[in-house]
Structures are given as C-alpha cells and as structure tokens.
C-alpha cells in the first residue's frame, strides 16, 4: 500500500468516511512483493456450492489471510448447515444467497470459490471475472471445451487471478504412484528417458478411475424436495425430471453435469502429466477409445482411452478392471522407464536428478498470487489445457469413436458432431453469461 494513501486516510475522518463508500477496486490490489496484506485490506471470499466439496478445507476456511463472508447454495438445507458451521468453526457470520449472481456481485467478496457441479463452472467463472473477482474453481475446470475457452479469455481480459483446485503438479504425493511430481519433472526434463514418452494412468500405476461414478438409466421421476431449487440446480443443463440420483454427489454420473470418473479425477491425474511432459500450452492430436456404447444420459465405464500428441507422446488411461498386468511403467521412453515408488531403470537416478536445477519457481500460494497479481501455478491457461484433454475423452466416449484434434484451432478435425460438443446448447438465458 503506498504510504501517501494511508496517511491521507488517517488524517481525514471525512476522507475515511468517503473512502469506505468507494469500491475496493478503485484502490487496486494490495500486497506487493513483500507479501504483506494490511488488515484494512484483508481478503474475503464467498463459496458457491456448500453441499459437498465446498465444505472441504480448500474452500471452507476463514482466517486472517482471507475471511469467509458469503456463501450460496440452491439447497436451503446445505446452506443452513454451512452457515451454522461457519459460525461455530470460525465465529464468522456469512451472508447467504440462493442466487449465485448476487454473491458474485457482492462488493464485499474479493474471491469467488466455485464448488458447484461442473455444468456451472464456466458461466460462474466468466461472470465472476467480469465482476472483478479473483477465482478459485473446482475441477474439471469446465464441462465443455468451449466454456473453457471463454473462461480463459474472461480471466485474461479482466486481469483476474485464477486457480484450479488441483495441486499435484506442485505438492503432495501423487496418489498411489508413491512420489511427488517434482522428481518426475526433473527426470523428464533431463532427457534421460528419451523421447517421445508414454505415460500410463491406471490402477497398475496407482490411480483409481472411480468407476462407481456411473449414472443410472431409466430414472423414475421423483418429487423435488422442498429445500431444493431444482430449476436453479439445473441451470444451463437440459430439463429432465428430478431424481435424487441426478443431484448432489451422484450428479457425476450424468453427461449433462459431469463425465463420471474420467471428468471427476481426470484433471487431478492428467494436469501433472501435461506439466511433466512440458505440454501445458498444447493439446493431443488424437484420442482413441476402447469402450462399450455410452448411454446418452448416464455415464458408463470404459476400458481404455489413449491420447496422442503431435510429437508421439502418449497418455494411456486404463479403466478399472482393465489394467495392464504385471509390472507396468508409469512413464516409458526409448531410454528408460519409471515405475511406482519412483523405481527407475536409469542407474543412480536420484543422484542424477539432484544435480539438476529445480523446476522454474511458480507461485503456489493463491493469496500471495492475488496480492502480487502473478499467475498462479495452475492458472486458467493450464487448467483449460488439462480440462480440454479430459473433455476430448468425454467427446470421444459420447460419440463412440476415435477423434482427431487440431491443437492450434482447438477444434476436432473433420467431425461436425464432435465440434458440436465443443459448445453445447444451454437452457434459458444462461448462454448469455458465457458469450
């Protein structure tokens, strides 16, 4: 904060009164390179969707770095429960909304946390960016490739800071693989494994595709619970009679809202691979599937999905029950292989890796990124690219065929039906929020 403004505020009570009624954005963001955020500029956040993941530690927190001041849910029971929990856990009385637009335009909210099902992510993120908010968004970043493009543009053009809620590229053991991502990145960058590389994401390498997120066919209509605004829950999704299985946790089993285990876990698993392979700014040129025909509404299972990049690198996803047998490498190149637990065919690999520089410093503290306006490590561009990889697989599954993709034009090649899945129709006026 520049000293002249602070002393101006202290000197004049009238000025203080005037300052408090002016929008925060007039003064810009605080923080700077020394990372100090003055109490007068403590950040605030609001959460949209407090029934499931919105109650996890990523979103449901309130501390001196960022206070929880607002929450929104279309289920009044969820909203009430979250409101009470915030009071009890943080001593915080948050404003409650049933219409997310009010939260997004609440001048007291600096950061919007989007923790709804994926069919809402694109609309909410675009509107939040245009409202001058920074954004913390659940994965998958968007349900469709087209929405992802629009979020990317909206965030960029409005000068916002965006983070996707996955983190394995910069911290934590990478699921059952038994290692963090950093040594994998260093090893790949070293060139010791050769090129191109194949990465296998499978139960055999430590990753579960959560096939229990399948939808049910022949759903019977049920009465809508009184606590739920079903119309708003659906939002842009097509109207289909209410059945409890369509909503809350189990929405993951329906193409209208998500994409089963592939979409639920895909970005967690694939984003670090894009990073490791140095492909944060590109996309595969082909997606091949081995799967039974998918129901047009209920997500089913699949046997394998293979993505191929222009340089020959591949990412192979193996479905539950269809894993390769025996000892299977996670990364395989012409010169070496890496298995679970970072077992590697390169002799003395850890010594070699230790001699290499760490990957380029990136900002992995979101609050600090908001203050400094630096790109967060997993920003909208990287999030768009890895969610597009996931969505390419979704498109191939829904159409029941292999697809080719142009990473520059960001469209499928010679397949109108696939390109019709890039931007999909939205119910009512919701499409206006994402133009």
């Amino acid at each position: 904060m520049d000293k002249s403004r602070r002393s101006f505020i202290k000197k004049s009570t009238a000025a203080v009164a005037a300052c408090t009624i002016l929008p925060r954005e007039v003064f810009g963001r605080m923080g700077g390179s020394n990372n100090f955020i003055a109490p007068s500029d403590q950040l605030t956040h609001g959460i949209i969707g407090v029934g499931g993941i919105g109650r996890s530690d990523s979103h449901f927190y309130s501390d001196s770095s960022c206070r929880l001041v607002a929450m929104c849910d279309v289920d009044s029971n969820h909203l009430k429960s979250a409101f009470e929990a915030a009071k009890e856990q943080f001593g915080q009385t948050a404003r409650t909304y049933s219409d997310w637009r009010e939260l997004v335009h609440d001048p007291n909210v600096d950061v919007v946390h989007i923790a709804t099902p994926p069919h809402w992510h694109g609309i909410m993120a675009c509107e939040a960016a245009r409202a001058g908010k920074d954004i913390w968004c659940e994965k998958p970043m968007t349900r469709t490739i087209g929405e992802g493009k629009r979020v990317l543009e909206a965030v960029k053009r409005n000068g916002r800071v965006f983070r996707l809620n996955t983190w394995f590229r910069f911290k934590d053991t990478f699921y059952g693989l038994g290692t963090t991502v950093k040594p994998l990145k260093k090893l790949v960058d070293s060139g010791l494994l050769g090129w191109p590389l194949t990465v296998r994401i499978s139960g055999a390498t430590g990753f579960a595709w959560k096939f229990f997120w399948v939808g049910k066919e022949n759903l019977d209509p049920q009465p809508v619970p009184e606590c739920l605004d079903y119309d708003m829950w659906l939002g842009p999704a097509p109207y289909k009679p209410y059945n409890v299985h369509r909503t809350h946790q189990t929405f993951r089993g329906y193409w209208d809202y998500d994409g089963g285990g592939l979409a639920d876990m895909g970005q967690h698993y694939i984003d670090p691979v894009q990073y490791i392979l140095g492909k944060d700014d590109t996309l595969p040129v082909k997606v091949e599937i081995d799967a039974p025909q998918q129901h047009p509404d209920a997500v089913g299972t699949w046997r394998s999905i293979t993505y191929t990049y222009g340089d020959g690198c591949k990412i192979i996803l193996e479905g539950e029950g269809y894993e390769s047998e025996g000892k299977v490498p996670y990364i395989e190149g012409p010169l070496g292989k890496v298995y679970k637990g970072f077992e590697c065919t390169i002799p003395n690999v850890m010594n070699v890796i230790n001699e290499l520089p760490d990957p380029k410093i990136e900002e992995t503290d979101f609050i600090r990124a908001v203050g400094s306006r630096h790109q967060f490590s997993l920003d909208e561009s990287k999030g768009f690219h890895s969610s597009t990889v996931v969505n390419m697989g979704v498109c191939a599954l829904r159409l029941g065929r292999n697809l080719e993709f142009d990473p520059v034009k960001q469209m499928f090649v010679n397949d109108d039906a696939a390109n019709l899945l890039i931007d999909q129709p939205m119910r009512g006026d919701w499409a206006n929020y994402i133009k």
């Binding site: 960029k156 053009r157 000068g159």
Partner: protein, 553 residues
C-alpha cells in the same frame, strides 16, 4: 402346446434382438422413438441406446449418406413425441445432425477503440484491464507506449495485465524501455516489471536486474535472474549468499536456469564465512561430490550453524566410496547434534550395497567404537535390513541401549524386529503399526497372518492403532478374520473401518462362505454405511446389493 412354445420363443427372440437390430440399422430411429414411454412408465434405455447409436453411426465421417434418413426420422419423431421429455431427448439427438455455427465476424477496429476508450475511463479495475486488451487487439506491437505508461498506474492488476498483453510482442528494445523506467517507479511497479522480465527470460536486461539485488526489490530481482540464468546472474547470486538477502539468493540458486555446481564448488573454497551455510546447503542439494573434502573440513567449524550445515550436506556430497571415511567421522564427532545427519550420510553411502555386506562393514567399525557412540550407528545398521543387523539391535534392545535400539528396530525392514515391537507395544501401542507392516510384508501364510493380527489387536488400546490393524486385516481372507471383524462392528470408534474390511474379506471369500453368511455380513456393513450418509458409502451399498444378486442363494 408346441405352437404356444414356438410363439413364445419367437417373441422372446424378437424382444431380445429387437434392440440389437435397431442399434445396427439407421432405418429404425422412428421405430425406436415410437417405443419411448413417458418417464416412469417404461424402461426407455434400450431405445435410447438404439437411437443414439444410429445418430453416432450417421454422424461418423464417411457416413454422410446415412444422415438425411436419420435426420428425417428424428424430425418426424419429434413431431409425434407424446411429451416434452421425450421431445427433449430426441431434440438432443437431432442436435448432432446439425453443423457447427461459424463464429460471427468480430467488431470493427473503430468499435474496439470506442469500447477501449470507454472502458479505460472506468473506475473498475477489471474494466480497465479489458481496455488494455482491446488496445492490444487493435495496435498489437504498436501498443508499447500505452503499456509503458501503464507502469505508472496505481492499480497493480492493470499494470500486470498491460504487461501480460504485450508478452508476445516484447523484444529487447521494449525490455530496455521498461528498465529505463526504474528510477521513476515505486517498489510495487518495479516488482511487476522484474517478474515480467524473468518470465520472458529477458537476458538483455540482466545488468539492470542485478542492479536491484540490494534494494527493496531484491527478492523479485533474484527470482527474475534465476529464471534468466547465465554466468553473470550466477556470479551475482552466489555473491549475495550470506548477505541481507541470503534466503532469496539461495531460493534463486536452487531453481537456477543452468548448472550451478561448478560455481558452488569453487565458492565453497573461497567464500566468506557468512555465505558458507547456504553454499553447503546448495552443495548437498545439487550433489556436488567434488566438494566432499571441503564439506568434511567444515564439520569442525567454530560456527555451529556452519558445522550443522556441513553435516546436513554430507549425504548429498558423498559417494559409496566415502563410506569408510564417513563411518570414521561418525565415530569421532565431538558434537552429538551432528550425529543424525552424518548417520544419514553413512546410510546414503550404503544404500545401493548388499545389506549383509554393509552390516559387516558397519559392525567392524562399531565393535571398536567407544560405548558412548555405538548408538550413532544403529540407524545405519537398520538401513541394511539384514539379519546380522537385526540380531545386533535385538541384543542392544535387551541391554542398556533399549531406546535407541527400539528406534532402529522400528525402522528395519526385517521380521526379526517383530518381538521387540510387540514388547514395546505394552507401553506404547503405536509400535503395533510398524509390527503390522512387518507382518503384512513378511508373513506369507494367511492363517498365520490372521493370528499375528489377532495378537496385535489384543495389545491395541487406541482407536488409531486398532483402525490400522483392521485395515491390514482386510487383505486376509480367513474365517477367523470375518468373525473378528464382525465383532468389531459394535465398537463405534472402529466400526467404519471394520465394515470396510469385512466387505472386502467377504467378497474375497464368496466362493467359500454360504450365501446366508455373506448376506448376514453385508447387512451388518450396510447398517454401518447408512449411518454415515456419505455418497461413496451409498454407492458401496449398491455395489454389495449387486454382488449379492449375482450369487446363488
């Protein structure tokens, strides 16, 4: 009777193959659409599969000849749809028969500029950010002056957006123009420019960046220099180790864009004392094995911080051939605080060697070591995982070195440690966690395993330890495991873990257990899951029901 059977069989065959036939034939869309019932009045999925299958077939590139027929049938079906839900489904399929709409032509340059000017006057930060992008759309590389002017703006988001908008046009001339602004700019704006220069790897400005190493923007400048790399940056960063910005210089060097090892090895010989701790840390991190002797010398430093840094670095700079030397160091250390990191270095030296041979070599040093320092070698012995080491440590556990020996026995991957862990569990049940790990790894016979887990359970006191044991029991398909897990369902502290384990074991034993027993167990598990209300558990209940339905009663 024969005639009736014939009719029945024909109808059954027709019913079974009806969907299959329909899926293969694009002529059947109208037929299948006619079979759709309003939601809740019939099972539509077979027909939905058939219709979407026909649409997928017709929209596959190369099958253009099929499209007209399928499209026409869908349109007819929509007309005849009995309700809006069926119509909505059919329309969703008709959607795929369309052609993607080409994006409309964008606004003219004049319109863009008008919008930019209006947005630039806004008080909203993000609207001003939009304006700079619009100017970028119009002027491209010619927008440099506006971007440079933005550096004087008070709004950080606007400054950063301006720089972001110029990324693809920026060249050395632009970078020079940015750094020329430094004397006029505050700390915040300079931080933004330094970040930009680093991201752009603007090596032409390395001198200007190094010039900021001693001021309020030191951290930003060092981070930028690290991204750019090069000899100048490297020398400057090393030169700032031990100074006011030692921490920032270290962070920059650990991710420096280039090989730092030669410079670190040289600097370790010549640098001032204040710089040594960070240099040692770098040497250890970057496996600067050529610095081994220098690091050893610094173990005797009068400065405790330097001595500790040397000890911590030793592992990173040692190679297997240094094992004997490191063992001697461990024995002769005067400062006990250094023993643990030097022990880690010894472990590192032997990490790729045969366990038994390593144990022999370590024990040859231990046997001549003074009694007061023998314990220093226990971790290294444990790391060999050998029987020889286990026997030695067990003897130590029973004599006057019980605490240190127990710690080592908790780390060794050898089942000989098990009795000591069981004994220690009588005072602290957390030792059972390691005990159970050893059982899982080394006891192959399931019946014996079940017995070992039962022994562990008897000694377990805390819920955390009981839960770990129960988790391990999940992979032991034995009847006694089933019985024990059933009993644990009534313990609220561990009921959930017991339910998970019981489900796994019963599924595994489905071929051996009677149906009634399986159902009985599943019913008990369901009761526990229903209490949680967790969606994953509700799915697990579905999974068990499906499993049961597939079994013969």
């Amino acid at each position: 009777m024969r005639k009736i059977s014939y009719i029945f069989i024909s109808l059954a065959l027709l019913f079974c193959f009806e969907g299959l036939w329909a899926q293969d034939c694009t002529d059947s869309v109208l037929f299948n659409a006619g079979k759709l019932k309003p939601a809740g009045e019939g099972a539509n999925s077979k027909y939905e599969y058939a219709i979407s299958g026909a649409v997928n077939l017709a929209t596959t590139p190369g099958n253009e000849a099929l499209r007209g027929k399928v499209k026409s049938q869908l349109e007819q079906a929509i007309e005849a749809a009995p309700d809006k839900d069926i119509r909505q489904f059919l329309e969703s399929q008709l959607y795929f028969m369309g052609v993607p709409v080409e994006p409309a032509a964008g606004p003219s340059e004049k319109e863009l500029l008008a919008a930019a000017k209006k947005l630039a006057r806004s008080r909203n930060s993000n609207e001003r950010c939009q304006s700079i992008w619009l100017y970028s759309d119009v002027y491209g590389k010619e927008n440099a002056a506006r971007v440079l002017a933005a550096m004087s703006d008070k709004d950080k988001a606007y400054r950063m957006t301006a720089l972001h908008s110029y990324e693809k046009y920026a060249d050395n001339q632009f970078y020079a123009a940015l750094t020329a602004l430094f004397p006029k700019l505050g700390t915040d704006a300079k931080a933004d420019i330094l970040y930009f220069l680093g991201e752009q790897v603007a090596d032409s400005q390395i001198d200007a960046i190094i010039g900021e190493f001693d001021g309020a923007n030191a951290a930003d400048a060092m981070a930028a220099a690290a991204k750019i790399g090069g000899e100048k940056a490297l020398a400057a960063l090393i030169g700032h180790l031990g100074g006011n910005y030692d921490c920032d210089a270290y962070l920059a060097l650990i991710s420096f864009n280039g090989d730092v090892r030669g410079s670190v090895e040289n600097a370790l010989k010549n640098a001032p004392a204040a710089a040594k701790p960070s240099l040692l840390k770098l040497a250890g991190e970057r496996h600067c094995t050529a610095s081994f002797e220098d690091v050893v010398d610094l173990l005797d430093s009068q400065d405790s911080k330097t001595a500790l840094a040397a000890a911590n670095a030793l592992k990173g700079v040692s190679i297997p051939e240094d094992a004997v030397h490191v063992a001697q160091l461990l024995q002769s250390l005067k400062d006990d605080n250094l023993a643990s990191p030097v022990s880690d270095a010894l472990i590192g030296c032997y990490s790729d060697s045969d366990g038994k041979a390593s144990a022999v070599r370590i024990l040859s040093v231990v046997k001549d070591a003074p009694e007061s320092v023998k314990e220093r070698f226990y971790p290294a012995l444990a790391s060999t995982n050998s029987d020889l080491a286990a026997d030695y440590l067990l003897t130590a556990f029973k004599s006057g070195h019980s605490d240190a020996a127990l710690k080592a026995l908790s780390a060794i991957d050898n089942f000989k440690a098990a009795p000591a862990l069981l004994e220690a569990a009588s005072k602290d049940d957390s030792h059972l966690i390691r005990y159970v790990e050893l059982v899982s790894r080394f006891v192959k016979d399931d019946s014996a395993k079940a017995g070992e887990y039962a022994t562990a359970l008897k000694s377990a006191v805390s819920a955390k330890v009981k839960s770990r044991i129960i988790d391990a029991m999940a992979s032991v398909p034995q009847l006694e495991t089933v019985n024990r897990l059933e009993a644990l369902l009534s313990d609220p502290e561990v009921a959930y873990n017991a339910a998970n384990a019981l489900k796994s074991v019963v599924k595994e034993m489905a071929g051996e257990l009677p149906y009634t027993k399986i159902k009985e167990c599943f019913d008990k598990v369901v009761k526990v899951y229903q209490g949680t209300g967790n969606a994953d558990d509700l799915y697990a209940i579905d999974e068990m029901k499906n499993f049961l339905s597939g079994l013969k009663k």
